[in-house]
């Protein structure tokens, strides 16, 4: 996540920035017990009122241990870093690129004479964004998989997003992307990173611009949904998005020995994992695994949340071994690591994407 300008007391308090900070303050309640003792969730409305300023102050006092909180969150400064510290790098890159595009667009717009605000502010925002981008470039070399995370970004998408959640999935008359589109949304996320144009794509569409609605149309054109149904041919879906998909086979309890194949797949691509997070081993959900990290954990994005999760092979990082592949997921919002905050994904099948 990123903010363009300072948020808080006497700050410019740009609506979008304020929403980001309000959202992170709410997340911090679950992360920092001492903050939780003094703070309740605030409304994420983009309005920096007394409650938001007070919340920043409490965060600085309780979490940052400031004796004299300045009640401000500034891009790149300590309070911002602390609030934003659990967000996965690739997600940051994508959000950053959006912010950068905004200021670049504003700059171009100003050059075209279409922007009324002053030049200095626009240039400042542009320089801030470029600085942040350069910083991210230098961080990207730490990416444990060696993927070039700057040239290829994974866009995190949520099934229930208002932009596409109500869109009917495939040839279904009732089922929507929100209710049933986990596989399609996961494939879309993968394609924003490593997809390429095929004959079914709309003119001028690029992988980075793909949304679940566009993917849904591409799949329909390619005839990948069953008749009158939302059932999707997944390997065909990968192909229609310009990727190669290799299927491990119809769902079964995935033995731990198969983890080597997943690790291998993550070296050069992504893994679309069929998981079960309920009571059995049938497979009720699809998530996208993006990285094997140097600490042995995995990074992945769950389309139900549209968030990057850190996935562990044991619930408490103890390195516990299982006969089958179990991944324990936590997003930054699911801290601390109590059993209630851990979502267990039982892997029953996977498709290697490259």
């Amino acid at each position: 996540m990123t903010i363009l300008k300072m948020v808080g007391l006497n700050g410019p308090n740009i609506h979008g920035d304020v929403k980001v900070v309000q959202s992170l303050l709410n997340k911090a309640i679950t992360t920092y017990p001492k903050f939780k003792q003094v703070q309740v969730k605030i409304e994420v409305d983009g309005d920096c009122g007394d409650l938001t300023v007070a919340s920043i102050e409490k965060f600085q006092r309780k979490v940052m241990k400031f004796n004299s909180p300045d009640k401000r969150v500034e891009p790149g400064r300590d309070t911002w870093k602390k609030l934003n510290n659990n967000i996965h790098m690739k997600a940051q890159i994508k959000n950053l690129s959006i912010a950068q595009k905004t200021s670049v667009d504003k700059f171009v717009s100003w050059l075209d004479g279409g922007l009324s605000s002053g030049l200095i502010g626009v240039v400042d925002a542009f320089i801030d964004d470029m600085n942040s981008l350069l910083k991210t470039f230098s961080q990207s070399s730490l990416d444990p998989t060696g993927k070039n995370a700057v040239s290829g970004e994974i866009t995190s998408l949520r099934q229930g997003d208002k932009q596409w959640g109500k869109t009917k999935l495939g040839n279904s008359k009732k089922g929507t992307i929100h209710g049933y589109g986990c596989a399609l949304v996961s494939l879309t996320m993968a394609a924003t990173y490593m997809g390429s144009k095929t004959k079914h794509w709309p003119v001028n569409m690029t992988p980075q611009k793909l949304t679940p609605i566009v993917t849904n149309d591409i799949f329909k054109k390619a005839g990948l949904f069953a008749s009158s149904s939302l059932a999707l041919h997944l390997v065909g879906g990968a192909k229609a998005l310009g990727m190669e998909g290799k299927d491990s086979g119809i769902g079964a309890k995935m033995k731990s020995s198969a983890i080597a194949k997943i690790n291998n797949g993550l070296k050069n691509g992504l893994i679309l994992a069929h998981v079960d997070y309920k009571k059995d081993w049938k497979g009720d959900h699809w998530i996208l695994l993006t990285d094997k990290n140097s600490d042995g954990s995995y990074s992945g994005i769950d389309p139900a949340y549209g968030k990057t999760l850190k996935l562990f092979t044991s619930p408490d990082d103890a390195g516990e071994k299982h006969e089958y592949i179990l991944l324990y997921g936590r997003s930054a919002s699911m801290e601390p690591k109590t059993p209630d905050n851990v979502k267990t994904y039982k892997v029953v099948r996977f498709i290697t994407l490259k």
Binding site: N26, G181, S227, A231, L234, K282, G283, W286
Partner: protein
């Protein structure tokens, strides 16, 4: 030539007025319908503030960070003064509609292993839950739904579904046999009806 031009002009003026009238009418569009997820569930009326109003209740589900805030109000339009319940639902929850005074919540993210909850606003708790495959059918006093038997059929075990069977095979889906159940609201019990059908696994 002049005549043709006059005709063209008339059509142009006529089209312009049609366009104007359509614009002026657009502000009077009825409130958007909340389309129920399953057949025979009550549809609702949606509003811009994410409120869905049914006959006796209104519901607001707002996604916040990792799950939904779930609010139920007496009457329509989600009036804060008439709030009955404020709770949380997981990210995979979806408002499906209203049935016999229950709020129907569908849970799931893909086509397999879905679960329906009948939430009773008067008791502020779930009245009944069931796991299903394929779409459940809400009758006047009962709900018919299929549950997986876990058995993989051959084609002859899918009578009346041969075309589907072939298509599912072509699309490389898994196929299983499911069996029909009926939940009776009056008796508050579920019985196995025994009828089977074949279902796909994506």
């Amino acid at each position: 030539m002049q005549n043709k031009f006059e005709n063209f002009k008339s059509w142009y003026v006529f089209s312009f007025f049609i366009l104007l009238s359509s614009i002026s009418c657009s502000s009077e569009e009825p409130a958007p319908l909340f389309e129920a997820l399953f057949k025979n569930l009550e549809n609702g009326v949606g509003s811009e503030d994410e409120c869905v109003s049914f006959q006796d209740y209104s519901i607001r589900m707002l996604y916040e960070d990792i799950d939904y805030s779930f609010e139920v109000f007496a009457g329509k339009m989600c009036s804060p003064k008439q709030e009955l319940v404020k709770s949380r639902l997981p990210a995979e929850a979806l408002l499906a509609g209203e049935w016999r005074g229950f709020i129907v919540i569908d849970n799931g993210t893909g086509s397999a292993s879905r679960r329906v909850s009948l939430f009773d606003p008067s008791k502020m708790k779930n009245h009944f839950e069931f796991d299903y495959v394929d779409n459940p059918i809400f009758n006047t006093g009962s709900i018919d739904f299929f549950s997986s038997k876990g058995k993989i059929p051959n084609k002859t075990e899918c009578p009346g579904q041969y075309d589907q069977y072939d298509e599912w095979k072509r699309l490389q889906f898994g196929i299983e046999i499911a069996v029909k159940n009926r939940y009776s609201l009056e008796k508050n019990e579920t019985i196995l009806l025994g009828q089977t059908k074949c279902i796909f696994i994506e």
